[in-house]
């Protein structure tokens, strides 16, 4: 059994509770021991890097210093794509000595990198591994057509995320295929959903979501798999707004990758949180 630190992040205790519970359920079933970082704090999100760069770099450094020095662990699982990108940005930025010095002033101890950061896709693809995952599948999906939606921050910018193929990634597709799904080829894999503009520029977000979901459906997808709380909430909640303007709109369920994995390996309905979605997901996860 491998031991990995766990950083849930703010969304997983709020709008993305089902990502938290389904992720924990799958980790347990797949034999990964997750140790939550004690007293974890916000990663700073977009607001920090648009306001104070040093704090934006220091907040994840504070968490990774705890992982390395207090927990004695080498890797941290960060299922929220936005938090993941901030953690990776810190690992990139502290390579610069001046930045590392300033970060140490802020955090109160030195962190100069060395903690591996796993996003939701990495966790199943690399930490667990596709062979181990395949051996645990009890209820394979019989060729369910799914569009793997990566959004922005799992892969961009590649100098920070170290993504192999930032424009057309395939690791989430590989995980879905291992579960018996049939990943579709489509256009908007890594396009932006509008992220936190959803709170104030609703018209922009509705249009971005409409383009993404319409393309997934046009390419044959019966559901969209995602690995980011902002992507999920925007794609899930904004289809209602699209429908008001276009009554012919057909909803597409937006499912976390951890929910797809959990259903296939026998994690219970309560942990999967299938009732928390706006567009019902039970039909595709039956």
């Amino acid at each position: 059994m491998s031991r990995v630190a766990y950083y849930p992040g703010c969304s997983l205790h709020g709008t993305a509770k089902e990502l938290d519970s389904s992720f924990l359920g799958t980790a347990k079933a797949l034999g990964v021991d997750l140790v939550e970082i004690p007293g974890w704090e916000c990663c700073g999100n977009t607001a920090a890097h648009a306001t104070n760069r040093l704090l934006a770099t220091a907040l994840p450094a504070n968490e990774m210093a705890k992982v390395k020095d207090d927990l004695g662990l080498e890797r941290v699982a960060v299922p929220c794509a936005a938090c993941f990108a901030r953690f990776m940005a810190t690992n990139h930025d502290v390579e610069d000595d001046d930045t590392a010095h300033d970060v140490a002033q802020v955090v109160g101890r030195r962190y100069t990198g060395g903690v591996g950061v796993l996003n939701l896709v990495d966790f199943y693809h690399d930490e667990v591994g596709l062979d181990t995952l395949k051996a645990k599948v009890k209820r394979p999906y019989a060729g369910l057509k799914v569009a793997a939606y990566y959004g922005c921050l799992l892969t961009r910018p590649p100098k920070v995320t170290l993504a192999e193929d930032p424009e057309y990634p395939t690791h989430m597709d590989d995980v879905l295929e291992t579960l018996g799904c049939e990943p579709v080829q489509w256009t908007f894999k890594t396009d932006c959903c509008g992220a936190s503009l959803a709170l104030c520029e609703q018209a922009v977000v509705v249009e971005l979501v409409r383009k993404i979901v319409a393309n997934a459906r046009a390419c044959g997808a019966q559901a969209i798999a995602c690995a980011c709380p902002l992507c999920q909430v925007n794609l899930d909640t904004r289809q209602g707004d699209i429908k008001k303007a276009d009554p012919t709109w057909v909803d597409v369920p937006i499912v976390y990758l951890s929910q797809f994995v959990g259903r296939a390996i026998g994690v219970g309905d309560g942990e999967l949180g299938l009732k928390k979605h706006m567009v019902p997901v039970e039909a595709v996860l039956a």
């Binding site: 703010c10 709008t15 704090e41 920090a48 104070n52 907040l59 109160g108 509008g194 992220a195 503009l197």
Partner: protein, 206 residues
Amino acid sequence: MTTTIDATLARRVNRGSGENAYKCYQCKKCSTGCPVAGFGDFHPAQVMRAVQIGAVDAAVDSRFIWLCTGCETCTTRCPQGIDIAAIMDELRMIAREEGRVRSDVPFANILKLNYDSFRRWGRLYEVELLALDKITRPSSFTDDVAMGIRMFLKGKINPLPTMGDRSQMKRMAQVAERITRDKRAIGRAMDLPAKAPAQSGPGGVA
């Protein structure tokens, strides 16, 4: 439209972000990949040009910088390796510092409340952020109320904050803000035009 030119703009952007706007040769790949290029006044390549020539009212005062979602497509595709998204962040910081955040950019308010919220509680307190946004930006009052209620009923919104290590957060924010303030003050002092000497004779300081 008259344009104010500030020759120090590109240098200030460089000092804050570490990025050199003069490397941009206007291929416009940033703009063709930008998800919000069609929703604002300018697109990213135009903002880059404005930074190069020091057109502050086109760069710092643009609506575009407050529409940028930080999706990093521009940064990823720039053939010159410029972190364009970081430049947008820097322009937001300059706009705040100089008190020139325009009134029709609600995202500026959201970002400020978001920063204040995690700074206060150690973690983001979504209900407080949304409530304060509705109070400070009355035009948002009726937005998404029905959806908010549905999400609350599904248990996706916590009425009370969940807190991290608040004292450590407060300490970190104070130190980061002090270091940043000092460094930016030193940078600004370097930008001030050199004062003419009290008595400059022929052949004095040019």
